[in-house]
């Protein structure tokens, strides 16, 4: 039977999509998993694939047209079907089922066969659920069995962090049991595995109920300054040792593997985060979420704006591996080929404008992360050491802190650790 083909949700934040180009033409048939069109979302160009086979009977939104989530963009079915009723329905109310479709498209469970399409990414999402619950949280209505809702409430578990395995993505008892069991077991697994290649997917985390004090701090400061009450901490760091370390490392590396100061900085931030759990955390209303690994978002400027690809488990990776990942992610970000899971779910971010000659600046927190580090250029600067004026490479860093999680002293201690790691890179191993 012919049916409307609705604009699917191809990224967690998209509200509309622009048809980049139709890969299939009207009248052309397609099989399951074949790409029908390329769609520009707010973040990247995504392939829109068919879940089941059929024929593209009519294109409603042509190349370059924009459609809201859930808006009909084509009619699919079997060759020769009468689609006049569907056509008049579409022209009568344009945004058919727009309200319903987005929620349905996000279902992480294997979609019912009736769903005509799904993002290519969505098909791979369920496998990651266990390690990256936050990444797949539905924004629409949660479907939860009564006992599952009750168990979640009793265990202070945020249902939005649980992926449902029942029909229509319903969260059922089994999912809660797995979520409750999962917290402990991922922690146990993460610790011994020090091999970088084992890092897949976003960081696991544990949650602790927010204390009354934290709640008061959160509500008072939010009243004062907006939804993320931010304050800033600035620190000067002597980068000479990092520069010589970089030189020493790069001396033995082929050109394509050479590391940048920023790669070392990302590593140092990740190592420092491991020692300061309150900074590698997220404020979640009734709980504080503490991440197990440091997934560092690295801000990358692209023509149309900014995107922060994520280096997963940077605390477990070496400089070279981090450097290679940053280069690959940045290149694909510029080509708008990043998949949603590659640019969402960081636990902390770094924004470096040093290469543009910026000496010092403040960056804006990307919620739900609790902090972001704004990194300026390392500049030769006269400083006083042991009563003598000497020249050192001084870099200014400013951390924006979510005061609901990080207090002044907490942030300062983190920056102190980070400073020591950069001034004496061996401290990263300490």
């Amino acid at each position: 039977m012919a049916e409307k083909f609705l604009m699917p949700k191809l990224s967690p934040t998209m509200e509309e999509g622009q048809i980049s180009r139709w890969v299939k033409k009207e009248g052309e048939s397609f099989g399951a998993n074949e790409t029908l069109a390329e769609v520009d979302t707010d973040k990247a160009t995504m392939e829109m694939t068919a879940l089941s086979g059929g024929t593209l009977l009519k294109i409603l939104k042509g190349d370059g047209d924009t459609a809201a989530l859930g808006e009909a963009i084509a009619i699919i079915g079997q060759k020769g079907e009468d689609i006049s009723a569907l056509l008049s329905e579409v022209s009568a109310n344009g945004k058919t089922a727009a309200a319903v479709a987005p929620a349905k498209k996000e279902e992480p469970a294997p979609a019912p066969q009736k769903e005509a399409v799904s993002a290519a990414a969505a098909a791979t999402a369920p496998a990651k659920v266990a390690t990256a619950p936050a990444a797949v949280q539905p924004q629409g209505r949660l479907i939860v069995s009564p006992i599952a809702a009750r168990m979640a409430a009793e265990n202070n578990l945020d249902l939005r962090s649980v992926a449902g395995s029942g029909p229509n993505g319903r969260i059922i008892k089994r999912d809660i049991e797995q979520a409750l069991a999962g917290g402990g077991s991922t922690a146990a697994k993460a610790a011994p595995s020090f091999t970088p290649s084992t890092v897949v997917g976003a960081s696991g985390y544990r949650e602790e109920p927010t204390s009354q004090m934290r709640r008061v701090i959160a509500s008072r400061l939010t009243e004062s300054i907006g939804p993320v009450p931010t304050f800033y901490l600035t620190r000067e760091i002597e980068m000479d040792n990092v520069l010589s370390l970089r030189k020493a490392i790069n001396a033995s590396l082929p050109d394509e593997q050479k590391v940048s100061v920023n790669d070392i900085l990302v590593k140092a931030v990740a190592m420092a985060l491991q020692k300061h759990p309150y900074v590698n955390a997220s404020y979640q209303d009734r709980t504080l979420r503490f991440y197990e690994q440091a997934d560092i978002g690295v801000a990358v400027a692209i023509d149309e704006g900014l995107i922060t690809p994520v280096i997963r488990g940077a605390n477990l990776k070496g400089f070279v591996e981090i450097g290679a990942e940053v280069r690959s992610l940045a290149a694909r970000a510029r080509d708008k080929k990043l998949q949603p899971e590659e640019y969402t779910g960081a636990t902390f971010s770094v924004s470096n404008l040093g290469m543009f000659g910026i000496k010092e600046f403040t960056a804006i927190i990307n919620p739900p992360e609790a902090g972001i580090l704004a990194v300026g250029s390392a500049t030769p600067t006269p400083v006083v050491r042991d009563g003598q004026i000497v020249v050192r490479s001084i870099m200014n860093i400013t951390m924006s802190c979510d005061h609901r999680v990080i207090d002044g002293a907490t942030g300062a201690k983190f920056l102190d650790t980070l400073t020591r790691m950069l001034e004496q890179p061996a401290m990263m191993l300490a």
Binding site: S145, P146, I147, I172, K173
Partner: protein
């Protein structure tokens, strides 16, 4: 204890109560000289004679009304319908008289009567002779409805029904008359009305079944255990009215999942009522929507294959349990 068929257990209950109380008498078509259409009353006419075991003409409304009048006069009639399908002819006496008399006489007249006979499907007896009518009778205040699923329950419940001072609808199942089980021979053995029985303990899913669907549910539970390692609890309410919802709700609170299996049609059925009551009392404990298996929405087909398709089956029960357990 002795192993006996449901037929013989019912016979034993009738005989013991005929001996115990001289006000008890049996009346129905072919119950006396012919020993009953299904031989439930075998030997009773010979032993107790014309006054205690009475052959009635083929006039359901007439002998049901005669029974109600006898009960008003102080006797304790046990009225046999050859099958419950024929009770439809007597429904006015059962529903409008037996069920209402105590209330409308301002408490003057108890009606200690038992209407009994086989209910539900038999073997290819087609549309008019295969109906499960419990929901209809359970709908009316003033009637108790009892449906045993094994020989011991049949005996204990029938004795309680005969001793009860109010009208009791006692529904047997023709396909089950030959099923054997251990039965206490103690003549004081009774099972109180309104008490459910957990026929099999389990932890993952509750099946509520009654009458013929109980042995089906038990067989399904065994297979599910073997094939999927899912532990099924089987609860038999035994009395439909009054309904022991607490035992069912406690089971659901433990297993979080419920499948109801019944031989009647689904619309406004006893299963629908149980489903509602569970939603009332154990909603917060459910992990899946309650699943119900009933006879298909069709007059019972005569053809053997179609009859089998219309009725509940072990396979249908297994499929339903898998669905509520998300297997």
């Amino acid at each position: 204890m002795a192993t006996m068929t449901i037929r013989d257990a019912l016979n034993q209950a009738l005989r013991e109560e005929l001996i115990r109380d001289e006000n008890v008498f049996i009346m129905g078509e072919e119950v006396a000289e012919y020993d009953g259409a299904y031989k439930v009353t075998r030997g009773l006419w010979k032993e107790f004679g014309d006054k205690r075991v009475v052959d009635a003409p083929i006039t359901e409304l007439g002998f049901a009304g005669l029974g109600v009048g006898a009960a008003m006069a102080g006797l304790r009639p046990v009225i046999e319908f050859m099958t419950w399908n024929f009770s439809i002819l007597a429904a006015d006496q059962i529903i409008n008289h037996a069920a209402k008399m105590l209330y409308m006489s301002g408490g003057e007249f108890n009606i200690p009567i038992v209407f009994r006979g086989p209910n539900g499907s038999a073997y290819q007896v087609s549309s008019q002779h295969s109906q499960a009518l419990e929901a209809m009778y359970a709908n009316f205040p003033g009637l108790k409805v009892v449906m045993p699923s094994n020989a011991a329950d049949a005996k204990g419940l029938l004795k309680s029904a005969i001793r009860d001072d109010n009208p009791v609808i006692f529904m047997e199942q023709e396909r089950m008359y030959g099923m054997k089980a251990e039965v206490p021979e103690d003549e004081d053995f009774t099972i109180p009305l309104g008490v459910a029985d957990v026929k099999r303990e389990g932890t993952d899913c509750t099946i509520v079944a009654r009458s013929m669907t109980v042995p089906m549910a038990l067989e399904a539970a065994e297979k599910i255990k073997e094939q999927f390692d899912v532990s099924v609890e089987v609860v038999d309410p035994r009395t439909i009215k009054p309904l022991d919802i607490d035992t069912i709700a406690n089971s659901v609170r433990k297993t979080n999942r419920l499948v109801i299996v019944e031989e009647s049609h689904s619309f406004a059925s006893v299963g629908a009522e149980i489903s509602h009551q569970i939603m009332d009392s154990a909603f917060d404990y459910l992990d899946a929507p309650i699943k119900r298996i009933s006879t298909e929405e069709t007059p019972m087909p005569y053809a053997k294959n179609l009859e089998a398709l219309a009725l509940p089956s072990v396979d249908k029960i297994i499929a339903a349990v898998k669905e509520v357990c998300y297997l």
